[in-house]
Symmetry: C2
Subunit: 475 residues, 2 copies
């Protein structure tokens, strides 16, 4: 389905590049006849599969996977006041079954607190049942009225990983929020995607949470993309849904809860953070094809070359590598173009001369060429590529972050990235920062090395002592 006649727009024209790469590299088809709903092409789905399998294996260490229903009856959905307020404008409602009207309207889950917690109220009996840590990977729905965009702003989020935990104490729940952020950091590291962690201001937290910690990355156009959140729910929901446990003394106690989620924005970040003017650049960890073999077939030695290429292919499969042998009747150049567009980390070329010299030409996605002796060298090469892709993305993100001491500096910085500036913590000052820079205050940076450069400085608005906050334009 790719189109070889036109060049891909450059990444510097990010919006055009993003739309084109989704189509040409066969990630998502945007032509589905409902706004905000998109179709996964099989190649895109395969990136999704490898990515979510990695997320699963991280979570499975101490969570259990499950599935709860999509449809939430309105009486449950409407129980928690802040939560309703946060979601009422973006919930889809099922009102009819067959030809008749339903007695009870059913919400399509925008997130599953109100589907899961009535069951938790039944399941949690005693302190011995806690902590309880479940997750599901499901479709969720938001009636988005803003401009929709594949993988980023959707009406059907096809791949929402949401975890929901229950604990005996507030502190344990806070520890779980920390643990969630640690897991997410590990996950994004394995995707080579650098992140910023911040505590969202109180007025920007999840509806029904004590506080929210968010994970963002910076896109090529300098805008931030929120790619994960973890919420301390305190007892907001356990009060509403009556989730209590019997403590060691035999007393009933309200339980403390957390939830944390990642959507297919994780795929959007992999595509956007690594991609270049030639196409996708996929880290080996999630590339559907990690290595492509291109036989260079010239004249009489065709059979010999094909046999050698097939042997190489089996050897790589034997090493657990996802490899493709490209035998299509096309010029090698056209094949290079195809696989570079699809972000394949490593290309191996094999022709008569290579057979004679007992070597293989290895070309990475950045067109660095070298000769290798055998398949056995490939795993180490892929590790190097994974590392190079990660370092390149980290350097690129650091280049988009500016330490600022004045509103003017922030205004300039958010044109092309994220500003770090001292903020006193008050809403009035945050509002003024946002109004004067046309950007959002993401919150105080946590775990990062940027905030410490301005911690203790005067707030850029009021001059009182402040701490480092992240400010940027957000998707």
């Amino acid at each position: 389905m790719e189109d070889k006649t036109d060049a891909l727009p450059p990444v510097s024209d990010f919006s055009a590049w993003y739309n084109e790469i989704l189509r040409r590299a066969e990630i998502m088809d945007v032509r589905y006849p409902v706004k905000g709903l998109y179709v996964w092409y099989p190649f895109g789905f395969s990136i999704r599969k490898h990515t979510y399998n990695m997320l699963r294996s991280l979570l499975d260490a101490d969570h259990q996977e499950t599935i709860f229903p999509l449809l939430i009856p309105d009486h449950e959905f409407m129980k928690e006041a802040e939560h309703i307020k946060g979601f009422e404008e973006e919930v889809y409602w099922v009102t009819h079954g067959g030809l008749s009207e339903l007695d009870v309207k059913l919400a399509l889950r925008p997130t599953s607190e109100t589907a899961i917690y009535p069951m938790y109220a039944l399941w949690v009996r005693s302190h011995a049942d806690l902590p309880l840590k479940l997750y599901q990977i499901v479709n969720t729905f938001r009636y988005e009225t803003k401009h929709t965009r594949p993988l980023i702003r959707l009406r059907e989020i096809t791949s929402f990983k949401e975890a929901h935990t229950v604990h005996c104490t507030w502190d344990e729940a806070a520890g779980q929020v920390e643990e969630a952020i640690r897991l997410y950091s590990q996950f994004y590291h394995s995707l080579g995607v650098p992140i910023l962690v911040s505590k969202r201001p109180d007025w920007d937290k999840f509806p029904g949470a004590d506080y929210t910690i968010a994970v963002d990355t910076i896109m090529p156009d300098g805008k931030t993309l929120q790619i994960g959140t973890a919420h301390h729910l305190g007892t907001h929901f356990s009060k509403t849904f009556n989730i209590t446990y019997e403590d060691l003394a035999g007393e009933q106690q309200l339980a403390y809860q957390t939830c944390y989620g990642i959507s297919e924005r994780c795929i959007a970040s992999v595509i956007s953070v690594h991609g270049d003017d030639t196409g996708l650049v996929l880290p080996p960890s999630v590339a559907p094809v990690q290595v492509v073999i291109i036989p260079i077939i010239i004249g009489k030695r065709k059979d010999e070359v094909l046999a050698a290429a097939e042997t190489l292919c089996s050897e790589l499969k034997g090493l657990g590598i996802r490899v493709e042998l490209d035998l299509r009747d096309m010029r090698p150049g056209a094949k290079y173009y195809h696989w570079e567009l699809h972000g394949v980390p490593l290309r191996l070329e094999l022709g008569p001369r290579d057979i004679d010299s007992g070597t293989i030409v290895a070309v990475d996605r950045f067109k660095q060429k070298q000769q290798i002796g055998s398949a056995a060298e490939v795993p180490a090469l892929l590790e190097e590529i994974q590392k190079a892709i990660t370092e390149r993305a980290e350097a690129s993100m650091e280049g988009k972050i500016a330490i600022c001491t004045t509103i003017e500096e922030i205004r300039t910085a958010v044109e092309s990235g994220v500003a770090v500036a001292s903020w006193c913590g008050e809403r009035d000052c945050a509002d003024r920062i946002e109004a004067e820079t046309d950007a959002s205050l993401l919150g105080r940076e946590l775990r990062g090395k940027h905030a410490e450069k301005v911690n203790g400085n005067s707030c850029v608005i009021c001059g009182r002592e402040g701490k480092g906050a992240l400010i940027g334009r957000s998707y």
Copy 2:
């Protein structure tokens, strides 16, 4: 969550047994506050995961996985007349987004033909694009007005595997339907679930199909459960959705299509076909825990026993076996009860005497006990158990199938299983068979060895020459 005070109802009281086993073995929770929607317990989800991973690996050989949207706009859903007629009474409709009414009503997919085929119309251009074989594993919805039952009759089918293929000719599509049935036979064989294959009568085929082949099994109460279907769609949908391809001569041709599906009824069949009065019996292929190790700790040698049990556990993990070491502070008998209820195929007991004799006590789910020398013998034991479970289920199904030559014999046979009788193929005769036996004519048996025993005999109603049909009471 298990309840040790009451005995499990016997399988002979199947409906009670089924409800209880779902709860006690932690498969599904039925207490979700909407009729027909159920919650997967993590243990049930784990059976689902292993089962669907097996299905995936069978399909991935020559299909590609993807995801299409859940929501179908009414103008697409309403395009194919027969299809609408078949589904209009059981479709859920989304009519509101947030606080406003939608311009276009959206159906929750009951099945995805009308979501997928508008995209196929864009994707299929030339004969070189064919065959196209995609599948997805998604949630689908039916507004069931009949009695609902977990895993069997649902309002949200959480785990519908549906494949949709496109071909150049009618014959190729027919070959794909054959291939689908071959795949499904292989799948059910790996679950140890015996099946009957039949061609559904014309009046019972999928709405919009040329014909339907179905796969059924027989439940412990003698009723049949349809656990897979494959449909030759001819050009019904390609005409409606304009799916055409350019043939070798440069002419536009209508494409031929098939679709075939399996839902979580496959899990219902595993549970029901194998279970016994003690609980679940899971084939090793899909058991979340294939082997449980129970250390028999007596007096002084506790540390020695625990160390040996841990070594055994690591050895089994090293062999790729899903093993659990049960260190809970409970009597061994209570542990046996727990794991038998959960269908674990093999239990290993290890105490001081076993350590002295250099042996391990191995007890299979049918309480056959033997001594083994080391972990290395376990894979072969699991294979034997898989085979024994399969043979037991096959023998049980054969015992429920009766060759019949009169209506009276059919009437008796369907009380406890499936009747095989000669039928001329006419609807009038089928209607009379159904009316006089209070059962359904599933269709002509294919691939089976039962129909051939009556092929060529006189139709049990009209006396004309007939062929073997399957008749049973269905879920």
